[in-house]
C-alpha cells in the first residue's frame, strides 16, 4: 500500500467516511499541466527524495492517456462523495461511473425527501437520494449563465452589454487565461431562478458538479482547446448562519458563516495522481488517480517483460499534488452570547483559497458543511459514533475589521473604489438609519443616547457628539489644509464623571485610543524610532495619536502629563501630522485625530476666582487649539442635586415609574455615526455662510462695547473655523448635505456655552478670548498697566537717581497708602520686573534701586 497524502483510511467503500477532499471534485481531473507547472512542481522538488535523481529530464510528461473527461469524473466523484455523508448509506455500493457526458444516476427508488413521485418515471436522470433531475438542473444553470442580466445594467443600451453578466465574465476569463474561477453571486441565482438556488443550497455537491460541467461545456463551445478547468465559486448567500447555530440538519448543505480566523495550518500537499515505478525494470506506471484519499499500489509491474510482483514504488516527484490547508474559524465577539465562549469550526481550503486569509482576519466563508466519522485507532475497524465536522470552503471574503466603517472623508477620490464595502451596509439597515435621521428630535435623541447613564451635562454631550460626527476637512489646491476634527477639553472637579464620558467616547469612536496623561510620554503619544534587535534596522513605531488616525484620542488626566509630552500635541492638533526626524528616519505621519482631553484643576477643585489658565495650568497656545473647552463644575444647586439623587435611586431600585427616554442602543449609534461620517459631506449654504459672518462680526463687536475703553477680543479666526466644523457636524447628524442656518445658530450656542464657562473674565463678566489666547484677560492687563504706572510714579517721586535703595516692603506700604487698589507683593514684584526691563530700576534681592 502506498502512502498517500490524505491520511489513513480503510478500504471499505461503504464506510461512513466523509473524506476531507475537495469540495469540487472536478479538481481531481483538471488537466495535469496547470497545477503541475505551478505549485505542484515546486513542492514536489522539496518533498521528494528523488528530486536530484538523474532521470529528472524525463519528467516532462505529456498528459496521461487515461484522463477522463472533466464532466464524467466530476459527476462521478460527486456522487461518490454524496454517499459518504450523514450516515445514510446506500444499500449497495455504487456502480462504476460512466464516462459519457450524462452524469450518472441511480434509480430513484429512494426514501429521502419528496422525490417519491418523481422516482416512478425512469426517463429523467436523478441524482441519487434527491429529487434533482440532472437535466433540469443542467438546463437551469445554462439558462442562468446565458441569460442572467444584472438589473443594475438594465438601463444601459450598450450593445456589448447585451450579453449576460456571467457570459461576459466567462469571456473575460478566456481572454485573460489567468483566472480559473468564476465567482457567482448567489443573489443573482436567486433572482433568476429561486428553485435552482434552493437546490443549490440543499444539494451543493451535486449542483456544483453540474455547474462545473455546464461551465466547461460552455467554455468548450467558445474555445475548444481551452484546457484549464474553471471552478465555480458561489458567494453571497441569501442568509448567513451564525456559527453557533450550525446543527446536524445543516450537514451537506451550503452555508455561509462569518467569523474570525484564529489559526492556519501549513500548506499540505495532497496527492492527486500517483505515479509508480518498478524497482526491477524501471517501468513507470500510468498515473493512478487518488480515490477518496487512497491510492492502490499496483501489485504487478505492468510491463510485459517484467511482471515482477510487489516491486512498484511511488515516485514522488512525478505525482501530482494539490494544495490544501485547514483553518480554524471562530465566532466573532459580537455573536457570543453573554457568559459563553466562542465556538470554532474547521474550514478546509483548497488550491487558490490556500492562504487567502491570515489569523486575525474577519471573513465570511461560503462552503459546504460536512461531517466525518472518527476512527478509533488505525488498527480498529470500528467506527465511533462521534462525528467531526468541518466546512469545505468554496469562497472566502474578508469583511471589515473595524467596528466603524470609516473611510476617511479626506480621501475623497477613494469613494468610487469602495463600492464593495458599501454593500456591507445592508440596505435595510441604511433605510432604518435614514428614517432615524428624519426624526425631528434626532439631535436630542442622539444627545440622550450618548452615555445615557451619565445624567445632566447635556451641552457637553452635544459637544462630544459634534466631535464624533466631525466636520469636513478641507484641502485647498494650494496645499493648505484645514482640519475637520474637533478637539475638546473637559476641565472639572473630581468626581464629575469626566472619565466615564471619556471611556464612553472611546468605546464609540472608530479607532478610539484611550490613554492616561500620567502614563503617557511624548513618544508614546506620537511615534518613536527603535532599532530592531535582530536585524538592526530602524523601525518606526506609532504612538497613540498616530494609531488613532481618523479616530478620537482620549487623554485622561491631561494636566498630569509632562510638559514635554504636551508640547508634542501642538503639531498634532493643528497640522494633524506627527513629524519625526531621528536616527535616519525623517517622516511625517498622519495623525488626523480628534483630541478629547480631560483635566483636573490645579488645586484639584476649581477656584472660581482664578482664570481658566491659572486653574488648569496649560499653555495658552495649546488651549487655543481646543475648539470647545467645557468646565464641568460641581455647583451647589438644589435642582441638580435632586436630579442626581433621583438618578441614583432609580439605578438602585429599577424604578419602573421613571420615564423611559427613547435612546438609541450602542450598535445603532455606532452605525449611525459611521454612516454619517462616511456618506454625508455637508456644504455650507449661502444663508448659513451669511449667518456665520453676521454672528462672527457680532461676537467681535461685543468686545468693543461702548463704555469700556479697552478692546476685548471675543472671537478670533480660530473660532470661526471651529464654528464651521461644528455646524458641519450638526448638519451631519441630520444626514443633511447642506449646512443650514439653524446648524450655525446651534454651533454659536455651543461655542458660547463653552466659552462662557471657560473664557469669561471673572473681573468684568465679559467673554474674553485673550484669556484663552494669552492667559491674561484684558481687564487684568489693564490693571497691571495701571500698577506699573503707579509704581513708576512712586519711584520717581521717592527715590533719587543712583540714591540709596529701598526695601520692597517699604515700597509696598507706600503704594498702599497712595492707591485705593489692593496691592499684593506679588503684583508689585511683577510691576517692578517690568520697570527693570525698561531700565528704570535695579532689583537686588529685596532691595530696589533707581538707576
Amino acid at each position: 500500500m502506498a502512502s498517500n497524502g490524505g491520511g489513513s483510511s480503510t478500504p471499505s467503500a461503504s464506510s461512513p467516511d466523509g473524506r476531507p477532499s475537495s469540495p469540487l471534485p472536478v479538481t481531481n481531473s483538471s488537466p495535469p499541466q496547470s497545477t503541475r507547472r505551478t505549485g505542484g512542481r515546486r513542492r514536489r522538488g522539496s518533498a521528494s527524495p528523488y528530486a536530484s535523481s538523474p532521470s529528472l529530464g524525463g519528467f516532462e510528461t505529456p498528459p496521461h492517456p487515461s484522463r477522463r473527461t472533466p464532466s464524467g469524473a466530476g459527476a462521478g466523484a460527486a456522487r461518490q462523495q454524496r454517499q459518504n455523508w450523514t450516515g445514510r448509506f446506500p444499500p449497495t455500493p455504487s456502480t462504476p461511473m460512466s464516462t459519457d457526458d450524462i452524469p450518472p444516476s441511480s434509480e430513484a427508488g429512494d426514501d429521502e425527501t419528496d422525490g417519491i413521485g418523481a422516482g416512478i418515471d425512469t426517463v429523467p436522470v436523478f441524482v441519487w437520494g434527491t429529487n434533482i433531475s440532472v437535466q433540469d438542473v443542467n438546463a437551469a444553470i445554462l439558462r442562468f449563465l446565458r441569460h442572467f442580466r444584472d438589473p443594475r445594467d438594465a438601463g444601459r443600451v450598450d450593445p456589448v452589454m447585451d450579453e449576460g453578466k456571467y457570459m461576459r465574465a466567462i469571456h473575460r476569463i478566456l481572454e485573460l487565461e489567468g483566472a480559473e474561477t468564476l465567482d457567482v453571486d448567489a443573489h443573482d441565482v436567486f433572482d433568476h431562478d429561486p428553485d435552482l438556488y434552493s437546490k443549490m443550497v440543499r444539494y451543493p455537491l451535486e449542483v456544483l458538479a453540474i455547474f462545473d460541467i455546464v461551465l466547461m461545456e460552455l467554455v468548450g463551445r467558445f474555445e475548444p482547446f481551452f484546457e484549464k478547468h474553471i471552478q465555480t465559486r458561489i458567494y453571497n448567500l441569501k442568509s448567513s448562519i451564525c456559527l453557533r447555530n450550525l446543527n446536524p440538519s445543516d450537514i451537506e448543505r451550503m452555508v455561509s458563516i462569518k467569523g474570525m480566523i484564529i489559526r492556519c495550518s501549513s500548506v499540505i500537499p495532497e496527492l492527486k495522481e500517483a505515479v509508480f515505478r518498478c524497482l526491477v525494470c524501471g517501468f513507470y506506471s500510468d498515473p493512478v488517480m487518488v480515490d477518496r484519499g487512497r491510492v492502490t499500489e499496483p501489485h504487478i509491474c505492468q510491463k510485459e517483460q517484467c511482471k515482477a510482483t510487489n516491486s512498484m514504488t511511488l515516485v514522488h516527484n512525478r505525482c501530482r499534488f494539490a494544495d490544501k490547508q485547514i483553518i480554524k474559524l471562530q465566532e466573532t465577539p459580537d455573536e457570543i452570547p453573554e457568559g459563553g465562549t466562542p465556538h470554532t469550526v474547521s474550514v478546509l481550503m483548497h488550491d487558490k483559497l490556500v492562504d487567502a486569509g491570515k489569523p486575525g482576519d474577519r471573513v465570511e466563508i461560503t462552503g459546504i458543511y460536512r461531517a466525518m466519522s472518527i476512527r478509533v485507532g488505525p488498527t480498529q475497524r470500528t467506527v465511533k459514533s462521534i462525528f467531526k465536522t468541518y466546512i469545505d470552503c468554496l469562497h472566502i471574503k474578508k469583511t471589515d475589521k473595524s467596528r466603524l466603517h470609516v473611510e476617511d472623508t479626506m480621501d475623497i477620490d477613494s469613494s468610487d473604489a469602495n463600492k464593495s464595502t458599501e454593500e456591507d451596509f445592508l440596505n435595510d439597515k441604511v433605510e432604518k438609519l435614514k428614517e432615524l435621521s428624519k426624526l425631528p428630535d434626532i439631535y436630542d435623541r442622539l444627545t440622550r443616547s450618548l452615555a445615557p447613564n451619565i445624567w445632566e451635562l447635556d451641552d457637553v454631550k452635544r459637544g462630544l457628539l459634534c466631535q464624533l460626527f466631525g466636520g469636513n476637512p478641507l484641502r485647498l489646491p494650494s496645499g493648505a489644509s484645514f482640519r475637520g476634527d474637533i478637539n475638546i477639553l473637559l476641565v472639572g472637579d473630581p468626581g464629575t464623571s469626566k472619565s466615564q464620558l471619556l471611556q464612553y467616547m472611546h468605546k464609540l469612536s472608530p479607532r478610539g485610543i484611550y490613554t492616561s496623561g500620567r502614563g503617557s510620554s511624548a513618544v508614546g503619544l506620537t511615534a518613536y524610532v527603535t532599532k530592531d534587535p535582530e536585524t538592526g534596522e530602524t523601525v518606526l513605531e506609532s504612538g497613540a495619536l498616530v494609531l488613532s488616525d481618523k479616530g478620537v484620542c482620549c487623554i485622561d488626566e491631561f494636566d498630569k502629563m509632562s510638559d514635554n509630552a504636551r508640547s508634542m500635541l501642538h503639531e498634532v492638533m493643528e497640522q494633524q501630522t506627527v513629524s519625526i526626524a531621528k536616527a535616519g528616519i525623517i517622516a511625517s505621519l498622519n495623525a488626523r485625530t480628534s483630541v478629547l482631553a480631560c483635566a483636573n484643576p490645579t488645586e484639584s477643585r476649581y477656584n472660581p476666582r482664578l482664570s481658566v489658565i491659572d486653574n488648569i495650568h496649560l499653555a495658552p497656545t495649546l488651549l487655543s487649539r481646543f475648539d470647545l473647552i467645557y468646565l464641568i463644575l460641581d455647583k451647589a444647586d438644589e435642582q441638580t442635586d435632586r436630579r442626581l439623587a433621583k438618578h441614583i435611586v432609580s439605578l438602585h431600585f429599577e424604578n419602573p415609574n421613571l420615564e423611559e427616554l427613547e435612546v438609541l442602543d450602542l450598535p445603532t449609534l455606532v452605525a449611525y455615526i459611521s454612516y454619517a461620517r462616511k456618506y454625508i459631506q455637508p456644504q455650507l449654504s449661502d444663508e448659513a455662510a451669511e449667518e456665520l459672518t453676521r454672528g462672527y462680526v457680532e461676537m467681535r463687536k461685543r468686545g468693543n462695547s461702548p463704555g469700556s475703553r479697552k478692546k476685548v477680543i471675543t472671537a478670533t479666526a480660530r473660532q470661526i473655523e471651529s464654528l464651521i466644523r461644528l455646524s458641519e457636524a450638526l448638519a451631519r447628524m441630520r444626514f443633511s448635505e447642506v449646512v443650514e442656518v439653524r446648524d450655525v445658530v446651534e454651533a454659536f450656542r455651543l461655542l458660547e456655552v463653552a466659552m462662557q464657562q471657560s473664557a469669561t473674565d471673572h473681573a468684568t463678566g465679559t467673554i474674553d478670548m485673550d484669556l484663552i489666547m494669552t492667559g491674561i484677560s484684558a481687564s487684568e492687563r489693564q490693571r497691571r498697566e495701571n500698577l506699573v504706572a503707579a509704581t513708576r510714579n512712586l519711584i520717581m517721586e521717592k527715590m533719587q537717581l543712583g540714591g540709596p535703595s529701598m526695601r520692597m516692603s517699604e515700597l509696598l506700604e507706600e503704594m498702599r497708602k497712595q492707591s485705593s487698589m489692593e496691592i499684593l507683593l506679588h503684583d508689585l514684584r511683577g510691576a517692578l520686573g517690568t520697570l527693570m526691563t525698561e531700565g528704570a530700576v535695579v532689583i537686588q534681592g529685596d532691595n530696589v534701586k533707581r538707576v
Binding site: 446536524p248 465556538h343 480498529q380 465511533k384 445615557p452 464629575t496 435632586r642 438618578h647 438602585h652
Partner: protein, 597 residues
C-alpha cells in the same frame, strides 16, 4: 410512568435504552412511517423524566455516589454518578449517531460514547448533537461545602466497585493535573505538543501560587484533588442556559471506554490535527466522561447541609445577625465598626448593571494593617470567611505575585482550550487581598496587565478574557476585601475603613453556629428587595440634604450609601428599605469618617 424497574443507579443505560426502544416502537406503530425517531432529535423521550422523578421525588439522590478524585477508580463505568463542578470551558458541540436501525429495531447511542450493539454498516441513522463542557471543581471551594450532600460511601458499595480498574487508576492518578496529558500525547505530532508544554508551564506556575495561597490559609484551603476535572456531555439543552463559570451539579452516566483511551498514533496525518477536537487533549484515562441526564445550577443554599426548616422571618434573622456580628467583632479585635462594615461587605452582591455602572457591590478595604497584625487578624479573618462562604480565596499581593501570576484566563487557540486564570471564578466568590506583602519594586508588563485586571474587576466587576485577537468581557460577581497599610490605590475599594483592634482574638465558633451563619448569609443575600415609592422620595430628600451639608459628596458615595442601606435592611430580614436603615448607614459613615481623619 413506571417501566420495568431497572437499577437506575447501577444500570442507567438500560433504562435509557428500554424507554427509547419502547417509545420508538410505539411511535413507529402509530405513524407507520419509516422514520419514527426523527422527532426525538433534541428531545427527551421520557428517560430524563424517569430519572428526575427517581432522584427528586423518590429520594434517589442520596443513593447516587459523588464522583471525585478519590473515588474515580472505584466507581464502575456506566453507572449513575453525581458531579459538582464549575463550567471552566465550553468545548462546543459534538455530533454523534443518535439513533440507528438495527434490523427492525431502532436503537440509541444517547448518553454513551459507544454503541453497545454493533452498528450494521449500511443502516438508517440519525445525527444528533450534544454540548461539551469542561468542568473543574469550583476554584476556592471551601471544604465545608463538600459535606453538604454526601453520596453513599463508594467503598462500601460493592456493586459499584471496579477492582480491575483500580490499579490502573492509581497509577494514572498520581499526577492528575488536568492540563497535563501524557498518555494521549506522547506520540502525537510535535506541532501539537508544543502548546501543551506551555500549558503545563502555565498551570504549574498557577498551582505554585495556589500552594502559596493555601499555606497562608492554614493548608485546608484547596480541597484535595482540586485539579480533578470532568468532561460533561449535556444533551438537549437550549443554548446559553449554562454560562461559563456556573457551578452545576450534573447527574449522569459515568463512562470509561478503554478503546477511546488508546492513543491515536497516526502522526503523518497532519490535517487531522486541526480538525481534531479538543477532547483529545482530555484523555479519558485522566478526565472522566459524564453523560448528563439531569443537571441543576447550585446556589449557596444548596451547600447548606441542614437548612432550618423555618421560613426566614425577621426575628430569626435578627437573632442570627446579632450572633454573627458579635463573632465578627471578636475576630476583629473588638472593633465593632469594622465588624459592621464586614457584615455588609459579606452580604453584598451585584444586583444590577447599567452600562458601566454596577449596583450592589461593596468592596471593602481595611487599612492600618502591618505585616504582624495582618498575620494575626488576617489569618483569623480568612479562616472565618472560609467557613462562611462557599468559595473564597486569599491572595498575598506582592510584586512577585503580580509579575508572575496568571490572573487572566486566556484562550489558547492552538489547543482550542481556555487556559484558566486566577480570576476565573464562580459567581459569588470572595477574594481577600493582603497588600501588606507589597513592597516597592518595578512591575513587568505582565504585572501592569494584572493590576489593570484587578482594577477593572474592582471597578466594574468584569474580567477581560484574552482571546488572542480580541478581549471578551465576562461579567463576574466577586466580593473583594483588601487588607493594607494605607488606602490601596491598586485596588480602589468602595469602602475604606481604618482598622482599630483593641484585643487579640482567641475564639473559635462552634459548628452549629457556623451552620446558622452560613444559612443566614445565603438567605439574606438572596432576599428580594421591594421598596415603596414613598421611600424613594424620602431617600431622595435625604440625599439632597446630605449634599447640601457636605459638598464633597459625589455620585459614588451616595450610591454606596444607598447600597449599604439596602444591605442593612436585608440584614435585618426586612424586605424594604426604611429611613431607619438609612440613618444607621449615615451614623456608620460618620464614625468611619471620624476615624479617617
Amino acid at each position: 410512568m413506571v417501566g420495568p424497574q431497572y437499577d437506575l443507579v447501577g444500570n442507567p443505560l438500560g433504562a435509557v435504552r428500554s424507554t427509547f426502544e419502547r417509545t420508538a416502537a410505539a411511535a413507529a406503530a402509530e405513524s407507520g412511517e419509516r422514520d419514527p425517531v426523527a422527532a426525538f432529535r433534541g428531545k427527551d423521550w421520557g428517560a430524563c423524566e424517569l430519572f428526575r422523578s427517581f432522584l427528586f421525588e423518590e429520594d434517589g439522590l442520596d443513593k447516587v455516589p459523588v464522583l471525585n478524585a478519590s473515588n474515580l477508580g472505584l466507581i464502575k463505568p456506566n453507572t449513575l454518578v453525581r458531579y459538582r463542578g464549575m463550567v471552566q470551558d465550553m468545548l462546543g458541540n459534538e455530533y454523534y449517531i443518535g439513533a440507528f436501525k438495527d434490523g427492525s429495531t431502532w436503537r440509541t447511542n444517547k448518553f454513551t460514547d459507544f454503541s453497545p450493539f454493533s452498528m450494521p454498516h449500511p443502516c438508517d441513522s440519525h445525527l444528533w448533537e450534544r454540548h461539551l463542557f469542561h468542568c473543574v471543581p469550583a476554584p476556592g471551594q471551601n471544604s465545608w461545602t463538600l459535606d453538604s450532600s454526601p453520596g453513599p460511601d463508594v467503598r462500601r458499595m460493592s456493586g459499584c466497585l471496579a477492582t480491575e480498574l483500580r490499579e490502573k487508576r492509581k497509577r494514572d492518578g498520581d499526577n492528575d493535573d488536568m492540563d497535563v496529558s501524557e498518555n494521549g500525547h506522547e506520540e502525537s505530532s510535535s506541532q501539537c505538543k508544543k502548546p501543551k508544554e506551555e500549558d503545563v508551564h502555565v498551570s504549574s506556575s498557577s498551582t505554585e501560587m495556589a500552594e502559596g495561597v493555601s499555606e497562608m490559609n492554614g493548608g485546608d484551603h484547596h480541597i484535595p484533588g482540586s485539579s480533578f476535572s470532568c468532561l460533561v456531555k449535556v444533551y438537549d439543552m437550549p443554548d446559553s442556559q449554562v454560562k461559563l463559570n456556573d457551578v452545576i451539579e450534573f447527574i449522569g452516566v459515568y463512562t470509561f471506554d478503554p478503546e477511546l483511551a488508546a492513543p491515536s498514533d497516526n502522526p503523518d496525518d497532519i490535517m487531522l490535527d486541526l480538525i481534531e477536537d479538543v477532547t483529545v487533549q482530555l484523555p479519558p484515562s485522566k478526565v472522566p466522561r459524564l453523560h448528563c441526564l439531569v443537571w441543576r445550577k447550585l446556589s449557596p443554599h444548596d451547600f447548606i447541609s441542614r437548612p432550618p426548616v423555618v421560613e426566614p422571618s425577621p426575628s430569626i434573622l435578627k437573632g442570627i445577625r446579632q450572633s454573627l456580628l458579635s463573632h465578627l467583632t471578636m475576630v476583629l479585635g473588638n472593633d465593632e465598626l469594622a465588624a459592621q462594615c464586614l457584615l455588609l461587605h459579606l452580604l453584598s452582591r451585584l444586583r444590577n448593571r447599567v452600562d458601566v455602572v454596577t449596583v450592589g457591590r461593596l468592596s471593602l478595604n481595611f487599612i492600618g494593617f502591618n505585616r504582624e497584625s495582618a498575620s494575626i487578624f488576617g489569618n483569623q479573618l480568612c479562616s472565618l470567611i472560609q467557613k462562611l462562604v462557599p468559595y473564597s480565596q486569599a491572595i498575598p499581593m506582592s510584586i512577585e505575585y503580580l509579575n508572575t501570576a496568571t490572573l487572566q484566563p486566556r484562550k489558547d487557540n492552538k489547543s482550542g482550550r481556555l487556559v484558566t486564570g486566577v480570576l476565573q471564578l464562580p459567581q459569588g466568590s470572595h477574594l481577600t487581598f493582603d497588600e501588606t506583602f507589597l513592597q516597592t519594586g518595578s512591575l513587568t508588563s505582565k504585572g501592569v496587565e494584572n493590576t489593570m485586571l484587578l482594577k477593572n474587576l474592582m471597578e466594574s466587576q468584569k474580567v477581560d478574557y484574552d482571546f488572542e485577537y480580541y478581549k471578551l468581557d465576562m461579567a463576574t460577581d466577586v466580593q473583594l476585601l483588601t487588607l493594607s497599610e494605607g488606602k490601596s490605590n491598586i485596588l480602589p475599594s468602595d469602602l475604606v475603613v481604618p482598622f482599630r483592634p483593641s484585643s487579640v482574638p482567641t475564639i473559635s465558633a462552634g459548628s452549629e453556629e457556623l451552620e446558622s451563619w452560613r444559612w443566614y448569609l445565603a438567605t439574606v443575600r438572596s432576599l428580594p428587595q421591594s421598596t415603596e415609592p414613598e421611600t424613594y422620595q424620602i431617600i431622595q430628600d435625604e440625599m439632597v440634604n446630605a449634599m447640601r451639608d457636605d459638598r464633597s459628596l459625589g455620585c459614588s458615595e451616595l450610591s454606596r450609601w444607598l447600597t449599604m442601606a439596602q444591605i442593612t435592611a436585608s440584614s435585618f430580614g426586612e424586605k424594604s428599605l426604611s429611613l431607619e436603615h438609612w440613618q444607621m448607614v449615615k451614623e456608620l459613615e460618620r464614625l468611619r469618617k471620624l476615624r479617617l481623619q
